[in-house]
Amino acid sequence: MDFCKKHVKSDCVELLSRFQGSESVRFQVFSKIWREMEFSQIFYGTVNHREQREFCRLILDTAYTFFLPPYSFQIRVGGLYLLHSLYQCQITSPREQIRLALKDWEDVMKLEKDAVNAQHHDAVYILRQLMLHKAFSFTAMPTMLSFKKKRNVKSLELCEEFMERPSRPQELINIELLEELSNIDELYGKLKTSVSSESEPAYSSINLIRKDLVPQLRSTVVDFYKWQQRKSGPDEDGNGDSGEGMSSQQECSRRAQLLASIKSKAYGEATEASKSRRHRQVEVDFTSNVAGPSHSLRYSRTNKLSLKARTCENVHISGDLWKEAGETTRIKCLTTVDFASKVHSGKQNPVKRFKW
C-alpha cells in the first residue's frame, strides 16, 4: 500500500486546505467540499477485499495525523470531519476502525473540551457519534509497527501551512530585533555627536529619533498580545477563530515564553551582543544613553550556547538587519536562510516543507 501513500496524503491535504480556505469549522462547509471533490469515490475500484481493507487502513491513518497537534484547531476539526466521513463512506464490511493511540487521548479530550467551550456543536456531535458507533480502536501506537526502518522518513513531514501561525507581530519584533535596534540607535547617536560640535551634545536638530523607541515598541507588542488573549477567550462564538487561541497549550506557552524573554532581555543586564557588532560596541559602550541593554556583565554568562548555535543566531541577525540597512552583508544572509525559521520562531524541531 505504500505506493499510493503520497497521493492519498496529497488528496487529504487538498481537501483540508480548501476547508482551511473557508475559514470555518462547520461540518456543512466540510461536507460541501467533500461533495465537490467527490471524495467518497476514493474507495472505489480496488482490486479485492484485502486491498480495500489495506487502503482503508492507510487513508484513516493518514487522516488521523491531521486530527492531532501541532495543527491548528481548524485543521484538527477538519481532520475529525475527514475521519468521520471516511469512516462512514468506506465500503469494507465490517468497517475498518480509526486507530486511537493512548498517548493521543489527552489531545483528543482537549480538542473536545475546546469545541464544547466554543459551542461548536457539530464537532462535538461528530466526535461523540464516532464514539457511539465504536469507530475507534484503542491502541498502543497510531499504526502497526514492524520495525520498518527507512532511510528517509517521509511520513514525518508536516504540512506547515496547516499549523497555527505564531502571531506575526511577536515573531517580527522579537528580542534580537530590539537589541539590534538599540545598538543601531547607539551607533547612530554616536555618529551624530561626533559629526556635530562636541560642546552641544543635545543639539535639537540631531535628536530626530525618539529616545524611548525600543521600550515603546516592546510595550506595544505586549499590549497587542494581551488584547489577542482577551479576544480569543472562550466566550466568543461562531467565526471559527474561537477556541483556537486556547486550543493549543504549546502555542500559548510559546507566546508566553517569548514575551517573558522579551521582558527579561529588553531590560535585563546580561545581554550578549551579536558577534558581528562587538567591534563596534567597544567604541559605543561609554556613550550609551539609550534605555537598552547594558553591556557591563557581558562576560558573566556561563551557560553559553554551542559555537554553532551562536554563529547561526548571530550571523542570521546581522543578515536580517543589514538586508534593510545596506548591501554589504547580503551574502551572509543568503547562507543562513536555512536557520532562519528555526531560530526565530523557537520551534523545537526543524520542519521540512511539504512537497507535492
Binding site: 499510493c4 497521493h7 461536507s31 469515490q41 472505489y44 480502536s137 502497526m144 514492524s146 526502518k149
Partner: protein
Amino acid sequence: MAAPNPSTDPNTNIPEYEYADANSNIFHIGSFRNEWLNRLKPSNYSYEQEDEDTFDANFAAEMGISAETLSDLKSICSPDSLRCHAEDQQPDTEVVPPDSTLRTLEQRKKRQDYRASLKVSKNRHDLYADELERLTVGRKPEAMVDMVPEGEVILTINVYYSVTFENFSTARPHVTLLMTGSHSLAELRDAICCVSDLQVCGEFSHTPDMAPEFISKDLYKSAFFFFEGVFYIDMRYPECQDISMTVIEWAKSHGFPPYSQAKMEDTRFAGLKVKVGFPYLYCHQGDCEHLVIITDVRLTHANDCLDKKLYPLLTHKHRVTTQKCAVCHVYIGRWLTTNDQFAASDPCLFCDKCFRMLHYDAEGNKIGDFMAYPYVDRGAFN
C-alpha cells in the same frame, strides 16, 4: 521482573515512539490496558451498541441545546450529507471512477490499466487473501463463557521465517497471530508452526512406513523466547532442557549485561514488558531461530473475533511456493533421495506415490541401491 531499566516516570506505560515509525518504547502490557480503562467509560469499549435515542437525549442535555437544534444538527451531520451521487443511482464501486480529480484515483486507474495488461491476473496471495478472514471476523461464541471479556487486550504478533540473513524487514511475515493478554507464551509457542518441528531425522529407505513416527517436535521439546533481556524457556515436559543457559553463561563471561530467565508457561502477555514493533527471538529445535514482532497492542472491539476458543487466531499466513515431485510435477515432494540410480538428479525429490512406485516392488521390497530421507516442504502448512 523484566525491566532492564526501571524508570521512575509515572507515565512509563503510555507507549511513545522510541524510533519514529519503527518501534515504541518499553511498556508493561497489563498497565497499558489499565491506563486505557481508566480513561474510558465502560460504554466506550463495551460490545453493546448504545441506544441512539438515549445518546441524543444525553447530548442535548449536556450541551444545553433544544430538540429543534438537535434535529438540525442531526440532519447536517448525517451520512447522507457526504453522498457524492444521486440518491436513486448506486455507483459501481468495483470500477475506478473515470475523470476523477483525486490523485489517488488517477494513480489507481493507471495501476489497474497496467495490471490488466499483464497475463497473470491473480497471484496466490490474492486468491486466498480473504479465506482466513471469512472464517473469523465478527465471530461470536456459542456459549457466553467463551466470550473474550470486554476491555481485554489483543496483541498482533508477526512470526517470521527462520532467518539467517540480516534483512528480515523485507521478508514477509510467515504467520500473523492474534492473541489476548491472558494467553501465556507457551500458547504462542504451540501456535507457531514451523517445518523444522516436523522434520524426521534418519534414513528410511528400508522401512518407509515407519518414518512419520519420529518427528522432531516430539523428540526435541526445548525452546525459548527472548524478550527484553529475559529468556522465557519452555519447561512443561520432563524432556525439556534449558537451552538458553549456554547463551546466558557466554554473555556473562564476555561482560554483557546479565540476562535473566523465566518460564514460558508461567508468563502471560499481560505481565510482559515489551516494545511494540521491536524484533524479538523465538528459538526452537536448538538453532531454528524466528523473529517475533509484536506489531500492535489494543483493546478488544465488538467487531473482533470474540470466541476465546478460536484464539490464538491466525490472520495471515504466507503462502510459499512448494517444491514438487520430480516425476509427476503435481504433488509436493515428500522424499529426498541420494545415490539414487532411478533419479534424474542427486538429490532428488519425490512425492509419496511416485517414490513407492519407482523404488519398491508390489510387495514393498526395496529395489536397487539408494538412500531415502523424509522431506518436509516449507509450504507444508499452506
